[in-house]
């Protein structure tokens, strides 16, 4: 095989350009909030809390946005997996009372990881059933999809009430993770640091999968052009089920972390977090995992700053953020290039 003699057209090497502007919004928001908050230690406390919350939201939102990107499926029932994870955590941690009461950090973390593993396994399994029963029959029918997944959400929430009861269940932090440590003058709750570490680890894992594995490449390619992925010989249905199950498992994991963050769990937790997640994936650009990361951090930080500065309008602050972002970039921070 020899190369034919072809003169390549002389062309300039395009510069690799990455769009970092949206990413800059995160430190900008944090800096802008500093003078408003006034006290530096309070600002540090709020910022750490915001990042912890943002990372938890990202873990939950990543699956939802990819599911939408891959198959145009908007799952209003995503919240079920969050609630499921949080309630499973109450059961698992309740059953490991010896471990959580211990002053040993290792024992505490082991209990939390056990709860996370159970939550991910169960949420993933339920996700697989949910995909088959609720979502598969209504592919490509947006209207029915919204209605059916919303119905699934309600049934799921009610079943959780049947199993765990309708009332709030306390989810205390394990002994060694209670309280705060002082960094300078700023009090930072220990669990929030743990949440940040776990959140960053999950973030790194998700991005490793998306950029370094073939499955990840297929997901990113499929979000852009589903047909072409099929024409290359890959069964996108299988890929989608995989992403759906992984997304459900991540929502379960996020549910455990969210429950511990709130230190109590109510059946409506899924519906509540769902709303935050929707705002996040709209801000980020539907289908973009990177966008949902930036969006989640923005929402987490803003929720904490607003909760401190003006608690009554805290919920509206996120809606306002969404409005501003959409006015700037109507398709979200990182719009996904579609065919």
């Amino acid at each position: 095989m020899e190369a034919p003699a072809v003169a390549p057209a002389p062309e300039a090497l395009p510069k690799v350009r990455t769009d970092l502007l949206p990413l800059l919004l995160v430190p900008l928001l944090a800096l802008a909030a500093a003078p408003l908050v006034g006290s530096f230690p309070t600002w540090v406390t709020l910022t750490v809390a915001g990042i912890a919350m943002g990372l938890i939201i990202f873990i939950i939102a990543s699956g939802l946005t990819l599911v939408f990107g891959l198959m145009d499926v908007l799952n209003f029932g995503h919240g079920v997996f969050i609630a499921l994870g949080a309630f499973l955590a109450t059961t698992v941690l309740g059953g490991m009372a010896d471990w959580t009461a211990s002053q040993s950090l290792a024992a505490n973390l082991a209990a939390i990881f056990a709860a996370m593993a159970v939550a991910m396994a169960v949420a993933g399994a339920v996700g697989m059933a949910f995909e088959r029963v609720i979502i598969r029959p209504v592919y490509g029918q947006h209207l029915k999809q919204i209605l059916i997944t919303m119905g699934g959400m309600i049934v799921g929430e009610e079943l959780i009430k049947v199993i765990w009861g309708p009332q709030a269940i306390p989810l205390p932090l394990p002994a060694a993770l209670r309280g705060a440590i002082l960094i300078g003058d700023a009090a930072v709750e220990k669990y929030r640091i743990v949440a940040v570490v776990i959140g960053l680890a999950v973030f790194a894992a998700i991005f490793w999968v998306l950029s370094r594995t073939k499955a990840g490449l297929l997901i990113r390619a499929g979000v852009q052009d589903r047909e072409m992925v099929e024409a290359l010989g890959y069964r996108i249905r299988r890929l989608f089920v995989g992403v759906f199950v992984a997304g459900s498992a991540l929502a379960g994991l996020g549910g455990v972390m969210w429950g511990l963050y709130q230190q109590s769990v109510i059946p409506q937790i899924g519906a509540q977090v769902n709303i935050l997640i929707f705002i996040v994936i709209i801000i980020g650009g539907l289908g973009s995992a990177g966008g949902s990361f930036v969006g989640a951090l923005l929402v987490g930080l803003l929720a904490n700053y607003a909760g401190f500065l003006a608690p009554k309008v805290a919920l509206f602050s996120n809606i306002l953020l969404m409005v501003l972002v959409l006015l700037w970039r109507p398709q979200g921070l990182y719009p996904v290039a579609k065919r």
């Binding site: 062309e11 395009p14 490449l217 990113r220 099929e230």
Partner: protein, 245 residues
């Protein structure tokens, strides 16, 4: 050339409420390059998409190596050894050139596992790809994207290569590059089915030709016969040729 690799028999295709293909008969001989000509809206792209299972034939048979594949899902069709380059090229713009190629190579788990010699051969056909190997495909020019799209289709040996308008919107120099690349491909005895509007490109490469109009194949024969018959060209392609001059 020994018999037909692909044959369409009385294929009808509906898209929504629209009846696009009205009984297409088409034969693609093994080892040759077949060109599908015809004016816009004649049903050429729909024919290709029906072969790939991207539209479902409502009637008729699509025979590949003698087996009817009309009812098969797209990934299964592709796995029979059919590579497809759509009209929009289907390049994944967020992915690098390398990642695009790695996805096209089903046998490779990552880019490093792509057959080295074959890759060198492809770089020989399309030198630009080596240069932009690590760049996001979205940054490539239209011509370079088309090269990537064709390169993806041949990254592993396939039995049949289906390409929808490889010269669409390309500068003359790039078209020349494409002609050379397809000549080289023909030497490897790959069977190729091309949709083309550019008659000069088609004439330079085609062994056999089929002309479509109104959802049917209205003429089929050798390219040599069509190229030598001005009157036939005028009758079949008058509009198409006029549009390109």
């Amino acid at each position: 050339m020994s018999g037909a690799l692909l044959a369409l028999e009385g294929v009808h295709t509906h898209i929504g409420a629209y009846h696009i293909l009205h009984g297409v008969h088409l034969t693609v001989p093994r080892g040759g390059l077949t060109v599908l000509l015809g004016r816009n809206g004649a049903g050429k792209t729909t024919t290709l998409r029906t072969i790939m299972g991207l539209w479902r034939a409502s009637h008729g048979r699509v025979l590949f190596e003698g087996a009817d594949i009309a009812a098969r899902a797209t990934p299964e069709v592709a796995r029979l050894g059919i590579a497809y380059v759509p009209e929009n090229m289907g390049v994944f713009s967020d992915l690098t050139v390398e990642e695009n190629m790695a996805l096209a190579a089903r046998g490779a788990r990552r880019a490093a596992e792509i057959d080295r010699a074959r890759l060198e051969w492809i770089f020989g056909l399309f030198p630009a790809l080596r240069k932009f190997w690590l760049h996001p495909a979205g940054l490539l020019s239209g011509g370079q994207k088309q090269m990537l799209a064709v390169a993806r289709a041949i990254v592993e040996p396939r039995k049949l290569l289906i390409v929808d308008e490889p010269t669409k919107g390309l500068a003359p120099a790039i078209v020349q590059n494409m002609v050379s690349a397809f000549r080289e491909l023909k030497r490897t005895e790959t069977t190729i089915l091309l949709v083309e509007q550019n008659f000069h490109f088609a004439r330079a490469l085609g062994d056999t030709v089929a002309v479509m109009d109104d959802g049917r194949v209205v003429h089929a024969g050798t390219m040599a016969a069509l190229a030598g018959d001005e009157a036939l060209q005028q009758r079949l392609l008058g509009l198409a040729l006029a549009a390109h001059h």
